[in-house]
Amino acid sequence: MGKQKEKKAIWGTTLGEFVQQQFVKRPINMVSLVCMALLALMAVIAPVLANNKPLMIRIEGKLHFPLFQNLSPADYCIFLAATVGFLLLLLIRRNHSNLEPSVRGAVLFRQLCLSCTIILIGSPLIFIFVPRRLEAADYKAMIAENKADYAVFAPIPYGYDRTDLMSRNLSPCRTHWLGTDDVGADVLCRLIHGSRTSLSVGLVAAGISTLIGIALGSIFGYFGGKVDFIGMRIVEMVMAIPTFFLIITFVAFFPRSLLSIIVIIGITTWTGTARLVRAEFLKLRKQDFIQAAVSLALPLRSTIFKHMLPNCIGPILVNAAFGFAGAIFAEAALSFLGFGVAPPTPSWGQMLSSGVTTTGRFLWWLTLFPGLAIFLTVMLCNLIGEGLRDAFDPRLKNAI
């Protein structure tokens, strides 16, 4: 341990470690991070948490695992990606204690490449080898007829696309903890599956908009002059259009699939990031170390990506966290208005809108729980974003 400390003293504190120390200092940050992690975990294992197929069943002395046999290849891909992502996080932690700062970048890059390769090769393999099965066997009926010896069900033993006309619009009870909706689907089950929609929209849409923002912002900021002038006028034109109406207009032209909604939200919300990155680049461009990089004739690629971009990673990350919340919110709003993903794919916004029935009855459990879910998720993102902002710039925290 002593040796470890010695090494650390020589290595010094990297920006990442500094931010981590600052971030951990405030308990609220850690609480929101843990909640967010739990939410992500819930989204990943949603089909195991809520499924109408039993986890395990014994019929005539033979064990069956219907739930796993019925998972779609996409589910397995998500499991794979989540596992690889988690392992990568562990690896990064290990890198920080074992490797010198100067080689970390290269090692991390190699590990990232490896993980991407695993996911990229693994996913097609999963799609090839995991058959798309739609088992019609009604295990619940089997159990009722005493055909099965014993069965273990998921904690919420309903599918998100369940329709049961016998149990429509039930208020919360013992069998349906958060009640059922107008076609008899369990609200809790749909909430759990809806987190997948929300989080994937948040993640991918924020990712797309951040990438576009970085690409355009860095070009405008680095080259300046005419490029910057024309570029920023275009950005201002895009900004002048209210984002939400822009999204609705786009949605009208494209099919109501999750993917198109993600892409549409992504390509309409990059203006903020672009302006931010441009401003940072304009500031950095005047710094001596960038002048020095140019005077050493470092390639443009290295100057921009190696010397400038990492120096504005803070504002970009913070902005991405807020973008994440914004994208979730936009998707919920779209679905609430009926422009979002088509049922039976669950979405929190869509569930919210079903709270008021055609007969005018107000079903509180259909609005309260999805509403809370949206509220909590968005708030968590904003808390994390603010925590990051304070961590990157500790002066800000003391100023207020």
Binding site: S102, A106, F289, A292, V294, A297
Partner: protein
């Protein structure tokens, strides 16, 4: 003075910056030449155009702000102003390197010192990463950093200003440039470190035979280190000579005024002389000799007020731009 053995010769270099209010001439018909293994001192107060000259040699004047409007910069037989950007990239870092004033701002805060030295070596010497790191350690040792093995994997903020400047010099000299431009390399450092850094530059010059363009506002540094000194005022070189001659017998009233304003060791504490007036506004320069409003003789002389003197050789290797200098006509 023959121009044949000179490594860099700048002739009639003019640089303009375009501000919203008008054109600012940062350099006007600046001419000088640096011989191989020689140190050339460029002295002048802030804003007189020293750094613009340095940036012009590297062709780093930001294109949307300023432009080299005239003259030529001959380096190693080729005119740098005629080279394409691609050819220029081969010169930058490889043949001409620059050290900036502020050591804390000249290193990228997110990379270790070793990363930054190794990157330059990898690029210009075609070495792989391990070789480049070995060379980087060697460079750090050369510039006098103790325990280079450990220092190399440290971040800039873990080093003192002097050490940072040493590391920057290591980056700049790692590719053995023929010319090192040192743009106020010691201004941000205290006196002792200043001497150390200047000694280091001298030593490196002896080892590699590079030429140094030493830009400074400190007359003492220029007198001590340079083989030839040029004094700049209002974007023009007003006097150019061997430092011993320049400081013992200044010909231009501006140089004279500067020297009189210097405190000297061992002299009684009588009030230091000042140059009357303030530095000319770069955008609204006076007519004629740019120094005439502040000059004791020039301010009454019609000739000084209307006609601008050009830099002329009045004695062998003594150049001055003043109508009243002995031998100037």
């Amino acid at each position: 003075m023959s121009e044949n053995n000179s490594l860099l010769s700048v002739r009639n270099l003019s640089v303009s910056f375009f501000a919203e209010e008008g054109v600012v001439r940062a350099a006007h018909k600046v001419s000088f030449s640096i011989k191989t293994s020689q140190t050339f001192g460029l002295v002048g107060e802030s804003g007189c155009g020293k750094s613009s000259v340095a940036l012009s040699i590297m062709r780093l004047i930001p294109a949307n702000q300023g432009q080299i409007v005239g003259g030529e910069i001959a380096f190693d037989g080729q005119n740098l102003l005629e080279l394409s950007e691609k050819q220029m990239r081969r010169i930058r870092g490889n043949k001409i390197a620059i050290v900036f004033q502020e050591p804390t701002a000249s290193l990228n805060p997110v990379y270790t010192v070793g990363d930054q030295i190794a990157e330059a070596i990898m690029l210009h010497k075609n070495k792989d990463k391990t070789q480049a790191w070995k060379a980087a350690v060697e460079m750090l040792r050369k510039v006098g950093i103790k325990e280079p093995q450990q220092r190399i994997s440290q971040y800039p903020h873990q080093m003192s200003g002097g050490m940072q400047q040493r590391a920057i010099i290591a980056i700049a000299t790692s590719c053995e440039p023929a010319l090192l431009i040192a743009d106020e390399p010691t201004t941000a450092l205290d006196m002792i470190v200043q001497t150390q850094i200047l000694n280091l530059l001298d030593e490196l010059q002896k080892q590699t035979g590079m030429s140094i363009l030493l830009i400074t506002h400190d007359l003492g540094i220029a007198a001590e280190r340079a083989d030839e000194v040029a004094v700049m005022y209002a974007s023009r070189i007003v006097e150019k000579a061997d430092p011993r001659l320049l400081f013992s017998k200044p010909l231009h009233p501006y140089t004279e005024g500067l020297l009189k304003a210097l405190p000297r060791l061992g002299q009684s504490t009588k009030r230091l002389e000042t140059i009357p007036g303030t530095v000319a506004e770069p955008m609204y320069l006076p007519s004629g000799c740019k120094f005439h409003p502040r000059c004791r003789t020039g301010c009454h002389d019609k000739h000084c007020q209307t006609f601008e003197p050009e830099l002329k050789e009045v004695e062998p290797a003594r150049w001055v731009a003043c109508w009243h200098a002995p031998g100037y006509q």
